[in-house]
Subunit: 387 residues, 2 copies
């Protein structure tokens, strides 16, 4: 079933919404009206929380956290204990998949991720294959464990759990560069000089990401998100060829339904992709994530759809740096973002919807009490906009 | 005279085009037909050239180069000796203006620029003022010296010389951060928490940049470019308020004519600004620079204007990383970029024009012979498109 062309059945919708206590996020993903604008925050389980830093110190390392089911569950739930967020997101890293391919992921203290065996030569590319998903069992175990921890006495999940992966292109950036990069020189050199090798890498990545996300869905993920964190560094035309086409290849292989028949909404977020929204509108996904450079009202006009018609839900897009300002300014910026999206869809049926989020991951330097101010402002003002 | 509303007089146009031997760049800036697409490269005088590295070694440091009239002249001309480029650009740094404000610019070996006295507190902001332009005399002396060196026996300049400055916002980023930044946390914290302070800095910056560019025009710069290198990190709405408005304040104070009555075209380049082209179309400038994420054909439709009508010339936008591919791929990408702009304007009168450039500064790792391939491909294929 293609979300862009066929409406979901009422049975599937009921199975989806009755699986959770707080269904606002899932409803907004599927372009249904909600009493307020749901929100969650990219990297909401993270270093800005003292309780996260304490758990990480216990675990000894980032990968120590991510590969231990109990630790991963604990840190995934931490932000939900503090703030009335409308979704949980699996605590993990986007580079687990290439690590399972044998590239040797490590996190040096105070630095970003690094691969011991970057993919640079034709022989490196030839060796790549879709990894045995058993090597990623720790991720699927974490998903099951988090779902159990979220399950309430009535058998429903308190909020939905989002699974995720890096996009094929974003994984390729790290795999070729071997680490983060300022200029993407190595990966772009391969792209322009040896597009055949780049396509080979991306094909393996796309099939790996699809298998990985499907296993997360089987384990209990109630929505999935593809982070195309580095799609925005590509040139026009290269983006469509080397990023978008492979995100589409992932989506084409994804399960549309979870184990209980519920619909699994798909979110695609290309940081810096605002110029390509019309291209992304053709993706078989439900939600497009937007960074802070995009005007939500303009995006709504371009791809948000009309009441009853096809379109994408929009997710985003406040600048995480707003959270360094005092609460009064945070509230003002929240109102600006909510109003930039425009009048809420009131139902019945489908229409333009907005899921509030940051335009990028939350900074480790963010004061947690400012996050509380943001969450309260979003809920309060978005309710008022519907009154 | 506002370039967006009033056509230039024929006398002024004649004075402009007869001041140079190669007038293709100036003609394209003013949206007049040319026999081929002119090109120059951002950072064309730079580390990728062995002769530049030799001169820099002699000078001892980057600022040793930039502050010495003879060295600055030598390195400005170096790329023109190798490649038939259609414009020269002053060799300097965008941070000369805040340095003249007393912030203490230095370049540590292997690192980027750094200010000894960043602007963080209200008292720092209160101390800022438009610097005495005598402190920037070395820049204006370099402009005069380069113009002399470019002057041919017939009294004309071989190619036009472009002067430049950082935009008020881009300068503010460095002034507040004190150095380059990944997240712009300090400058954005000020922007969101104390917009009054940010506006004060930007007002001083805008008036300083205007005085600086006017002095470059007096010294002989034949076009001027404002580099809004960090405009693209701003959120929608913050860009318009904190970057675009102050670029407009610069343009409002700029001399339209040089000492010989010639028109001085103005170029504005916002890296990552492709989403805001319609806003930028209202600027009183002649040319908009575009990075590689923008589709030139779409930009032409949006702001390039029709034959005889108002609009902006477009400059850009090949990914500098293309230059790491072999010549055959470089040629193919050049053709792609030229064709993405579409059919050349053939005159008479004004119409949509394209100035070929990179979408960002050339990488220090670029093989010079690949630059030669790029330049030849642009000239050859753009001539063929007009045949």
């Amino acid at each position: 079933m293609n979300s862009t062309t066929a409406p979901a059945s009422n049975d599937a919708l009921n199975a989806t919404f009755t699986s959770v206590q707080n269904d606002t996020f899932l409803r907004a993903c599927l372009r249904q009206a909600t009493p307020y604008t749901p929100l969650w925050l990219m990297r909401q389980a993270g270093r800005y929380l003292p309780e996260y830093r304490a758990t990480r110190a216990q675990a000894g390392s980032f990968m120590g956290l991510a590969t231990d089911r109990d630790y991963a569950t604990e840190v995934t739930l931490q932000p939900l204990e503090r703030f009335p967020l409308d979704a949980a997101i699996l605590f993990s890293d986007i580079l687990t998949v290439p690590d399972a391919m044998g590239l040797g992921l490590s996190f040096a203290l105070g630095e970003g991720p690094r691969f011991a065996h970057p993919v640079r030569e034709e022989a490196d590319v030839a060796r790549l294959e879709v990894p045995d998903m058993d090597k990623l069992r720790y991720v699927f175990d974490a998903v099951s464990s988090i779902r159990s921890a979220l399950t309430q006495p009535d058998g429903k999940s308190r909020v939905p759990l989002i699974g995720f992966s890096g996009s094929p292109w974003t994984l390729a950036c790290y795999m070729v560069e071997g680490a983060g990069s300022d200029d993407y020189r190595l990966v772009k050199t391969m792209l322009y000089a040896r597009p055949d090798l780049m396509h080979s890498i991306l094909a393996v990545n796309a099939d790996s990401v699809a298998a990985y996300l499907n296993a997360q869905i089987d384990a209990g993920a109630q929505a999935v998100m593809v982070f195309d964190s580095w799609g925005g560094v590509l040139a026009d035309s290269a983006f469509q060829t080397f990023s978008l086409a492979y995100t589409a290849r992932v989506l084409a292989q994804l399960k549309r339904h979870g184990p209980q028949g519920q619909i699994i909404p798909r979110i695609v977020f290309t940081k810096g992709g605002g110029l390509w929204l019309k291209d992304m509108a053709a993706l078989d996904c439900d939600v497009l994530g937007l960074d802070w450079t995009v005007n939500l009202g303009a995006a709504r006009t371009e791809v948000g759809g009309a009441a009853g018609g096809p379109g994408k839900a929009l997710q985003g897009n406040i600048d995480p740096n707003v959270l360094f300002a005092p609460p009064a300014q945070i509230e003002a910026e929240v109102q600006r973002v909510l109003h930039s999206f425009g009048p809420p869809h009131r139902g019945p049926g489908i229409g333009p919807t907005h899921i509030f989020n940051l335009g990028h991951g939350i900074s480790q330097h963010t004061p947690p009490e400012h996050v509380a101010a943001l969450v309260e402002a979003v809920h309060q003002h978005s309710r008022a906009m519907r009154a």
